[in-house]
């Protein structure tokens, strides 16, 4: 049993013993910087995706098939596209040909892939050859992208179909895609429990180059469906699954390197999967932030340690987490409709944060209140106390789907109540 398991187990036991309750915040929230809410309303169904375009704009998309471009500074609606007739499942922002325009690619379960020019606010391309519901999109090589779902396609930058990979299994439904190296020629797909590695080969004919998707390797299966897939570094990527396991894979040999956070009784009561991994974010090509069940954890992939964690952070499953305010705070959003801000406890929080802020540290350092030098030398995982709830952002009346940090413009969140909320500092 690894140290992880021990730690997690210990937490479990504690939880069982004293029925750990979800922390509540009372009174003044001196560390909560978000003092203004802007309700951005346009969507008529659940808003599932938020994407930052640049420091002035972000894009939201949802089940109503509408894409809305928001000005994040003034919180104004810039434009909207009645993009699809069915829910939008994935979005991808790429640079245009001339690098002077922003293109947005949307995939939807209405089997269309559409390319939008955000600056001009119009549809550039409508690709219908995908044939099945589009689940995920990934940019590969230069100006090409892969779309996946029940089929796997490679598209050129002008929307031309370059290659289709025949998926052998009938039920195959790729839900996640990541590229694993810098050149973007190799990518990993997650299909239920299974991870598969593909690569794009360019075949040089006499006059022209053609591209083909080749299957490289099938990776050992997870116990349950893979819910999160994230590249960590050039040599490493991570996958998390419903049973709570986070696997670290080598991007070179495609063998599992480490197994984090394995649970014996992962199904929990009434198959609720209380430890399921909903989301993994990577920081500094080294640290993994994972939304696990109703809590979250921060792992170090190099030293293979659990840096800190909070088992019960929310009343319901955490859907996403991200550092906000340059890492001064960690924001987690959950199906319980709240966004919570976490940080380190200190007696004089304002002052402490001010001191920390002035030191030019990275988000991880700020969050843990320690610099990397110290971090590498400290061996004891007990060094880091449980993060403390510093603020709660209540505004959504349904589950919060996504949060994005928009730097100085604050934080944006979207949720099941059809709203996008801008949280302004």
């Amino acid at each position: 049993m690894s140290m992880w398991q021990k730690l997690w187990r210990k937490g479990d036991q504690q939880k069982d013993e004293d029925k750990e309750v979800v922390e509540e915040i009372e009174g003044e929230e001196t560390c909560n910087p978000y003092t203004e809410l802007y309700f951005l309303q346009h969507h008529s169904d659940i808003v599932r995706h938020l994407l930052v375009i640049d420091d002035r704009r972000c894009v939201s998309a949802g089940d109503d098939g509408v894409v809305v471009v928001w000005d994040t500074q003034l919180c104004m609606k810039l434009s909207f596209f009645e993009a699809h007739s069915r829910p939008i499942t994935c979005m991808l922002s790429i640079d245009g040909k001339n690098k002077d325009s922003n293109l947005l690619i949307t995939g939807s379960s209405d089997k269309h892939i559409k390319v939008w020019n955000i600056d001009q606010g119009k549809c550039v391309q409508d690709i219908t050859e995908h044939g099945t519901s589009v689940k995920c999109l990934l940019p590969v090589l230069e100006n090409m992208f892969v779309s996946a779902g029940e089929q796997l396609h490679l598209w050129g930058e002008d929307g031309a179909l370059l290659d289709t990979f025949p998926l052998d299994k009938q039920e195959a439904d790729i839900s996640l895609l990541i590229s694993t190296n810098l050149k973007n020629e190799r990518f990993v797909t997650a299909c239920d429990k299974e991870l598969t590695v593909y690569s794009i080969k360019d075949l040089l004919d006499l006059n022209e180059t053609s591209y083909r998707i080749c299957q490289d390797k099938r990776l050992p299966e997870h116990l349950e469906a893979v819910r999160a897939l994230v590249p960590v570094s050039d040599k490493l990527f991570a996958s998390g699954s419903l049973d709570g396991t986070i696997l670290l894979w080598s991007s070179e040999t495609f063998t599992p390197l480490k197994k984090l956070n394995t649970m014996a009784d992962y199904k929990g009561k009434a198959n609720m999967y209380p430890y399921s991994v909903q989301y993994i974010a990577c920081e500094n090509q080294k640290y993994l932030l994972a939304a696990i069940g109703c809590g979250f954890a921060l792992f170090d992939t190099v030293s293979n340690t659990l840096l800190c964690r909070k088992v019960k952070a929310h009343y319901s499953k955490v859907t996403q987490l991200t550092f906000v305010c340059d890492g001064l705070l960690l924001a987690t959003c959950s199906e319980d409709g709240s966004i919570r801000l976490w940080g380190q406890k200190s007696h004089n929080p304002g002052e402490q944060l001010a001191v920390k802020a002035s030191m030019g540290l990275s988000p991880i350092e700020r969050f843990l209140d320690i610099n990397f030098g110290q971090l590498h030398h400290s061996k004891s995982p007990d060094h880091f106390p449980e993060p403390v709830l510093l603020g709660e952002c209540l505004g959504h009346c349904g589950s919060v789907m996504r949060i994005v940090d928009q730097g100085l413009e604050g934080m944006f969140s979207c949720g099941g109540d059809h709203l996008v909320i801008a949280w302004k500092v």
């Binding site: 003092t35 203004e36 802007y38 309700f39 340059d326 001010a354 002035s358 209540l394 505004g395």
Partner: protein
């Protein structure tokens, strides 16, 4: 001259006109029968005078009809008789000939309206004509064409106000047409029942006679039956078309409400109370049996049921109708009032308002339309509740323009009296002020205008002249104003200040202590403003409270202007001072006030002080006391009333007593529900008329005495935190009262979009809370409070649970509201409390003014856009804010109020910026501010 040949029916008229044209100069020399010879003083329809003069000397409105019996005819004119030198009959012909309604459609269909302008340049007659059709079962093709025309000798009026006239005409016609449609529908329904009844009877007769009668007779019967069938189908078709077009539920409700009201006042319905003059003009008298069968309703008199727009068809007893395939043209056609029922009343009222508004001189209209742009409070005006302007921050005012006319007329409205200035400016409200006034009695109209021109502190009795006599008697009854100590204290203050400010000033005799208070306040304010660090003493505040609202407003207005023109005080300010006081005081007083302010703003205060004193000596007796005394006498009277009432009705609650008192005080025309509905046209229909009648802030005394911790709720409102008053269905009245009382504190009160809902069945979603600041919500009995209010709402809004008497809100720790809270017990009269509240608001606003100008747009500076320093910045900024606040004497929670007020101004400026620039169509969202630094607590009240 227009060619009228196309109009065959009017040949006689046509000939008449042409003939006369040729002979107008030589007169009639033929021997004719008396009746054929034209009358020697035939008023000519068109102007035959040299150019520039016209016979048509006043505007008037003409409603004309193209009668199928008589041809074009006038139905009525406003004013009665129209213009004296004008042949209305001829003009009707002309107007009705303008309508070119041609249609190719078969069968019954709805006819669209058309609007045309009609000009006869030679004769200087110009008309705006709105053609429309009303439906009448007895008319040909069910249709009777009508036209309303606005006739004026001034063409510019029509050009300039085309849009407005067109809009208003449409509104008038909307009433008429909808009323008519309802009447038509009813009449058709009844007719249909009659037809069915006749058919049934006929079948019965046929069956019984079948054996005995001849075949030919039977033939006739069958023919009749066929005709009957055809009639039924036709009526059904028409009914179907009409029913489809009856979609304006709002208007229907309005008519229903009028009818309800009329039923209550049945005995007086037809008399003067409804002021339907035209009813008498119309020759035909209405009779129920004429129109339809009779009602069975035994409880209701025939008269009432006959009038109803919403009859219960169950009580209708059908009758047999005479079967004829053709139409009869000898029957009487219904008058306009019969055709439109309540629509006629409403439409005519509107038409009269339209006339009253547009009949005025072109110049007046133009000036008003210019001024109307300033009607709404400027973006930099801070206002509370319905009628209290705290301060004008004067951010967007162009200094160069300050002296010009338009602003002179405008700014008093902004500064002081939102209501009164609006009333006189807009068409809509002008109309409402003319409401209960008949066309003819201009006298009463004048008084109505002056009544609405009452100042902010809404006693509405400023202009009565008989009051000062009674004052001496009443004076002793009132503690507040005869408080010798208070006056002595003030005198002392005055002396002190006079020494401070102008040591070389020769001291004039102090005639009137109250008067001096004003001056002192102004002086003091000038002083404290000039020296930012100097704290204003609390005495000052107290003085403001002890005095009346007018005084405190004077202070603030002066200060605002001083603030704007601080540097150039000597040059241009005197002008503004002039008009700032104009609106608040009656004409006579203005002179005095103006002079005094003149002196104050001038550089050499000391020197001019003497002149002012001299003037005061002259005026003190007659003028200065007037506003004070009137108010006090009113108060005294109401106190008397109250004590009387207390004796009379022991069972009554204090709330009822106050209400009774208020009702006694409020002028009659103020009670009219329409006045309210024009003020809030958007959703007035949704609210109970009860709540609409109440003045803003009504019941505040009761609420403040009943709920101990209410000041915390008020604090929430004043820091922009939405307040949700939750009550179970049985507490509806109480919740409404609370909302109504607390709305006096709302800073975002606007005539068109309300920031409050007195009572709603479901909790509004959170994003609506950016606009809604005060909501009364019904909580179902079975749903527990904690589950009813989601945590997000609880965090972002203040929740007041009336049932359990609990408030969950940030705690107030400050001076102003505590002061208010402490003083509530001293007040027995609500007006006094509202005045106190307003004075406190004005006081707070004045602080906000200083904060805004001296800090927000001054040393507050621009934050550095960097997270690294975010926390530092924010904490250092907070320190600077609190330091500054301390300097101007604002502490603790009051600082949050001031900050919010300034934020409100900023928000209004942003809004204005986007609204006035058409190129920027999208306005940024309004934020909902959260207060993380405030600790919410549950407390009992």
């Amino acid at each position: 001259m227009m060619d009228l040949n196309m109009f065959g029916a009017d040949l006689p008229y046509n000939m008449y006109i042409q003939e006369e044209e040729s002979k107008v100069n030589d007169g009639w020399n033929f021997d004719l029968e008396d009746y054929l010879a034209p009358h020697s003083q035939v008023p000519h329809p068109w102007n035959r005078q040299p150019a520039g003069e016209t016979h048509l000397d006043v505007d008037f409105i003409l409603v004309a009809e193209f009668s199928e019996l008589e041809g074009p005819r006038e139905v009525l004119t406003i004013p009665k008789g129209g213009s004296s030198n004008f042949n209305i009959t001829d003009f009707s012909v002309r107007i009705m000939s303008l309508d070119h309604q041609t249609t190719t459609k078969q069968g019954f269909h709805l006819i669209e309206d058309s609007q045309v302008t009609f000009s006869e340049i030679k004769d200087s007659v110009f008309a705006f004509v709105h053609h429309f059709a009303l439906y009448d079962r007895h008319a040909r093709g069910y249709v009777r064409p009508f036209a309303i025309s606005y006739i004026t000798p001034d063409s510019r009026k029509l050009l300039q106000f085309y849009e407005e006239i067109s809009q208003q005409m449409k509104k008038v016609v909307r009433y008429l047409k909808y009323g008519n449609k309802l009447v038509f529908k009813n009449s058709l329904e009844m007719h249909l029942m009659d037809l069915h009844y006749t058919k049934a009877e006929m079948l019965l007769r046929m069956r019984s006679r079948k054996s005995s009668h001849q075949v030919s007779d039977e033939d006739v019967c069958y023919k009749n039956l066929r005709t009957l069938e055809a009639n039924i189908t036709e009526t059904q078709n028409v009914l179907h078309t009409i029913k489809l077009s009856l979609v304006d539920k709002k208007l229907e409700h309005r008519f229903a409400r009028l009818e309800e009201k009329a039923k209550i006042e049945t005995p007086r319905v037809k008399s003067d109370s409804w002021s339907l003059q035209e009813w008498e003009e119309i020759e035909a008298t209405y009779s129920v049996s004429n129109v339809s069968g009779s009602y069975d309703g035994s409880s209701l008199s025939d008269n009432t049921t006959g009038w109803t727009l919403f009859p219960d068809t169950r009580y209708y007893r059908p009758k047999t109708v005479k079967i004829s395939s053709g139409r009869q043209f000898d029957i009487h056609l219904q008058g306009l009032h019969e055709l439109c029922s309540w629509g006629h009343r409403e439409g005519m009222q509107k038409l009269r308002h339209l006339y009253q508004f547009f009949k005025r001189d072109m110049a007046v209209l133009q000036v008003e339309s210019n001024d109307k742009t300033f009607m709404d409070p400027g973006p930099s005006a801070l206002y509370f509740g319905e009628d209290c302007i705290g301060v004008n921050l004067l951010t967007g005012v162009d200094k160069k323009c300050m002296g010009c006319h338009c602003l002179q007329a405008d700014i008093p409205g902004l500064l002081f009296n939102k209501c009164s200035s609006i009333e006189s400016l807009s068409f809509k409200s002008a109309a409402s002020s003319f409401r209960s006034v008949n066309d003819d009695d201009a006298e009463s109209m004048k008084s109505a205008i002056s009544a609405t021109g009452s100042p902010v502190v809404n006693f509405g009795l400023y202009n009565e002249n008989d009051v000062p006599n009674t004052f001496e008697l009443e004076k002793d009854n009132i503690d507040l104003y005869s408080n010798n100590e208070f006056i002595r204290h003030l005198t002392f203050k005055i002396q002190q200040l006079d020494i401070d400010i102008s040591k070389d000033e020769p001291m004039g005799p102090i005639e009137n202590a109250e008067d001096r208070t004003t001056i002192d306040n102004v002086k003091k304010f000038v002083e404290s403003f000039g020296d930012g660090n100097k704290e204003r003493s609390l005495d000052d505040v107290e003085k403001l409270e002890e005095g009346n609202g007018a005084i405190s407003e004077m202070v603030v207005s002066t200060s605002t202007l001083l603030g704007e023109d601080f540097e150039e005080r000597s040059s241009g300010t005197s002008d503004h001072e002039d008009f700032t006081c104009e609106c608040d005081l009656s004409d006579v007083e203005t002179e005095g006030m103006r002079d005094r302010l003149h002196t104050l703003t001038a550089e050499n205060v000391g020197q001019l002080e003497y002149e002012k004193e001299a003037k005061n000596e002259k005026e003190a007796g007659s003028i200065k006391i007037a506003p004070e005394t009137e108010k006090t006498s009113v108060l005294a009277q109401s106190i008397k009333n109250e004590s009387m009432l207390e004796r009379d009705s022991e069972g009554m609650t204090s709330y009822d007593l106050i209400r009774l008192n208020i009702e006694n005080l409020i002028p009659v025309d103020f009670d009219s529900p329409e006045q309210e509905s024009t003020r809030f046209p958007s959703n007035a229909d949704n609210d109970s008329p009860d709540a609409d009648n109440l003045a803003c802030g009504f019941g505040i005394l009761h609420i403040m005495t009943k709920y101990a911790s209410i000041k915390h709720v008020i604090y929430s409102i004043l820091i922009g935190r939405s307040v949700i008053v939750v009550g179970t269905p049985d507490l509806e009245g109480e919740v409404k009262n609370i909302v109504n009382a607390l709305k006096i504190f709302l800073t975002s009160y606007h005539r068109n979009h309300r920031s409050f809902i007195p009572w709603t069945k479901c909790l509004p979603s959170l994003y609506k809370m950016t606009d809604l600041k005060l909501v009364g919500v019904c909580r179902p009995e079975r749903k527990p409070f904690d589950r009813f209010i989601p945590s997000a709402i609880k965090k972002l809004c203040t929740v007041f649970d009336v049932k359990r008497r609990e408030i969950f809100c940030p705690v107030y720790q400050g001076y102003y509201l505590s002061l208010l809270d402490n003083r509530v017990r001293n007040y027995k009269m609500e007006e006094m409390l509202t005045t106190l509240i307003k004075s406190i608001m004005v006081e707070i606003s004045s602080k906000a003014f200083i904060y805004f100008h001296s800090f927000c747009i001054g040393p507050a500076g621009v934050g550095r856009q960097d997270y690294k320093f975010l926390q530092q910045q924010s904490s250092s900024f907070q320190r600077r804010v609190s330091n500054f606040m301390a300097k101007i004497g604002v502490h603790d929670s009051d600082a949050h109020i001031i900050e919010f007020l300034c934020e409100t101004i900023k928000q209004q400026l942003i809004q204005d910026h986007f609204q006035t620039r058409a190129s920027v169509s999208h306005m940024p969202e309004r934020p909902l501010a959260t207060h993380n630094d405030l600790c919410c607590q549950m407390m009992k009240c």
